[in-house]
């Protein structure tokens, strides 16, 4: 009997040990939990996607204007703690969560101390690129206590990307990704997330080719000279604006702009506007779908 009790104790202890975990967030702070946190509040939409994809159920969320449709459906019935930019600290503290997950930007980082005083840990994350996505999914798998689900999600994203790459073979389309409106626009460099999606989908981004790299002062989205664009002669132009489009659609607004209208892609109608909630923000766990979709827009003949 005594031996049995000891065995039981050892078993329980072992199980406890197995679920204890430590992770480091993007601000460099380390967090240790002896068990899976039961009540987790997620303040921004990208991290919410990761959390749900890893099998988590958020106790509350922060509202954002850029939530994809499926997420809007999901959060019906989940309490809100205010907007991403200004979460309601009082409501958060009153809920007494085990963990709060925020975005890696100055405002959420500055909330860390206020919440710490109430004994609530706040971890901040942002997904930079595909490799980072895999690393973050691993952490979220630990947080939700569902590492297998997180791993499966990463595997399905990778298989979507491989499927796209097998279909288009060797990249052969020169693309340009424009962000904004024709009156005020930037172009996406390869180092931006949409730049990475475009390249994974088989596009050769003309903004950034034979340029000094797209790092340092110029990274993400920059105004690239239209003269350069004209000479680089892209095959396709993708426009990301804040219009409420849910699916990619042909766009004719550039035809009306004399500076753009002579571009071959514009003349041939190869201008497509992309939905903001997938391509204007980092699609994170929808990366695989986004790559497949963009690839099928670039190489429609191969996807028939």
């Amino acid at each position: 009997m005594k031996r049995l009790a000891l065995l039981l104790f050892a078993f329980c202890f072992g199980a406890l040990q197995a679920s204890a975990f430590t992770f480091t967030d993007d601000a460099g702070d380390s967090y240790t939990f002896d068990k899976v946190p039961g009540k987790v509040i997620v303040l921004n939409s990208s991290n919410l996607e990761l959390f749900i994809a890893a099998g988590g159920k958020p106790a509350a969320y922060g509202e954002s204007g850029t939530m994809p449709a499926y997420l809007n459906e999901y959060i019906k019935g989940v309490p809100s703690v205010g907007r991403v930019q200004s979460p309601d600290l009082e409501r958060i503290v009153a809920m007494n969560p085990d963990l709060v997950i925020g975005m890696n930007f100055p405002f959420h980082i500055s909330l860390k101390n206020s919440l710490k005083q109430a004994g609530i840990p706040l971890a901040v994350f942002g997904v930079h690129d595909r490799n980072d996505l895999t690393a973050k999914m691993e952490i979220f798998g630990q947080i939700t206590g569902n590492p297998d689900k997180a791993f499966q999600k990463v595997a399905s994203i990778n298989s979507d990307i491989e499927k796209a790459q097998k279909t288009f073979g060797k990249p052969s389309k020169k693309v340009l990704v424009v962000y904004g409106t024709p009156e005020s626009f930037n172009m996406a460099l390869p180092a931006s997330f949409i730049g990475e999606i475009a390249e994974l989908a088989g596009g050769m981004n003309i903004a950034g080719r034979d340029m000094k790299g797209g790092t340092g002062m110029y990274s993400g989205f920059v105004p690239v000279s239209l003269e350069y664009v004209t000479m680089a002669d892209p095959d396709m132009i993708f426009i990301i604006s804040h219009g409420n489009k849910s699916t990619p659609a042909a766009d004719s607004q550039l035809k009306k702009q004399p500076a753009w209208s002579a571009l071959r892609a514009v003349r041939e109608g190869k201008v497509i506007s992309l939905p903001f909630d997938t391509y204007g923000i980092n699609p994170t766990v929808r990366l695989g779908e986004a790559v497949l979709e963009l690839s099928s827009l670039m190489y429609p003949e191969l996807y028939k």
Partner: protein, 335 residues
């Protein structure tokens, strides 16, 4: 009056300045057409204007991107400088610029509302910004009007309304922080992507504005003597002030609606011009127009070529180069 001009000891200096200014304008035009992120050889360049089957890419770059952009920049610089010069005289305030009569705040808010809330309607950004600018200017004028538009009241009403409108802009920035990226270039003032449609949009205002300002210069000189003296000299002070302010508003609104908020030119160029040619508006006005155009053309050439093929908004570059130059002139003037 004519005799006065001929014996003015400043005349020699003005002639030299006019000569250099015009020279700079032509140099600027030539350099800016020849320089860009796409290198163009002289023979290719000439072929654009002569050969019928010229290199299509180069032709497109020069005729539909570079040239209209440079000309738009020239007009915008001229309009902003003229507007600033007129306002500084009418309001007798050295800190006056088109922003002080609500142009920046009115245009900025209108453009931001369209860019953030109705992004699909981006074609209406220029007319919306124009209406916002002129609307704000008129509101300020009528708030300040009380049996006459007292200059101090005008300035204060301008500051107050601008702050009021800026609050809405801040609110939009905070509530739609994810959409702000699409507006930053416009807010910094850029000629990126401007073409003939923008040029033709600004041109009529530039023509009317330039001749209106040159014609109005003598009234500005009279107003500079003070309202009472001006009235004594037979000037209809209120009517002159209103028409000149309206002219300044239209000039700045047309510029801002085409290229976005461009601060520096309207404030500093009239001062630089004043330090060089003196404060007689008959000279100050046309020279401000000239230097405004020269400044924007040179600044934009730099904005396009410094980090080519990336670009900087010209508004940023102008303040970067222009402000130290202005400080240099200022300290030299004080000695």
């Amino acid at each position: 009056m004519k005799h006065g001009i001929q014996t003015d000891p400043e005349n020699g200096k003005r002639l030299v300045t006019a000569f250099f200014g015009t020279g700079l304008l032509f140099c600027g035009l030539l350099i800016s057409v020849a320089k860009g992120s796409v290198g163009v050889s002289l023979s290719d360049f000439l072929a654009v204007f002569t050969a019928a089957d010229a290199n299509q890419g180069i032709y497109q770059v020069i005729m539909n991107i570079r040239l209209p952009r440079i000309l738009t920049g020239g007009l915008v610089g001229m309009n902003m400088a003229l507007s600033g010069a007129i306002l500084q005289s009418v309001l007798k305030n050295p800190l006056a610029d088109p922003g002080i009569i609500g142009i920046s705040a009115g245009a900025g808010l209108a453009a931001m509302v369209v860019m953030i809330l109705f992004p699909a309607m981006s074609a209406i950004i220029p007319p919306a910004a124009f209406l916002g600018a002129v609307g704000a200017a008129l509101i300020i004028y009528f708030i300040a009007y009380n049996g006459g538009a007292h200059t101090l009241r005008l300035v204060l009403a301008g500051v107050a309304l601008s702050a009021f409108l800026a609050a809405f802009m801040s609110a939009l920035t905070v509530l739609f922080s994810d959409r702000v990226q699409g507006t930053v270039n416009w807010m910094a003032g850029t000629l990126h992507g401007k073409s003939w449609n923008h040029f033709y949009m600004v041109l009529p205002y530039s023509i009317v504005g330039f001749f209106g300002a040159v014609f109005g210069a003598k009234y500005l000189n009279i107003l500079a003597l003070g309202d009472d003296i001006a009235r004594g000299l037979g000037l209809q002070v209120e009517k002159a002030k209103f028409l000149l302010t309206l002219l300044a508003a239209l000039l700045a609104a047309s510029a801002v609606s085409a290229v976005g908020l461009m601060g520096f030119v309207g404030l500093i160029i009239p001062h630089i011009t004043r330090l060089i040619v003196g404060s007689d508006n008959r000279f100050l006005i046309p020279f401000s127009a000239l230097f405004g155009a020269v400044t924007v053309i040179f600044a934009d050439t730099a904005a396009r070529t410094l980090f080519s093929p990336y670009e900087l908004p010209v508004g940023i570059l102008m303040a970067f180069i222009g402000a130290p130059f202005f400080l240099y002139l200022l300290t030299r003037g004080i000695k």
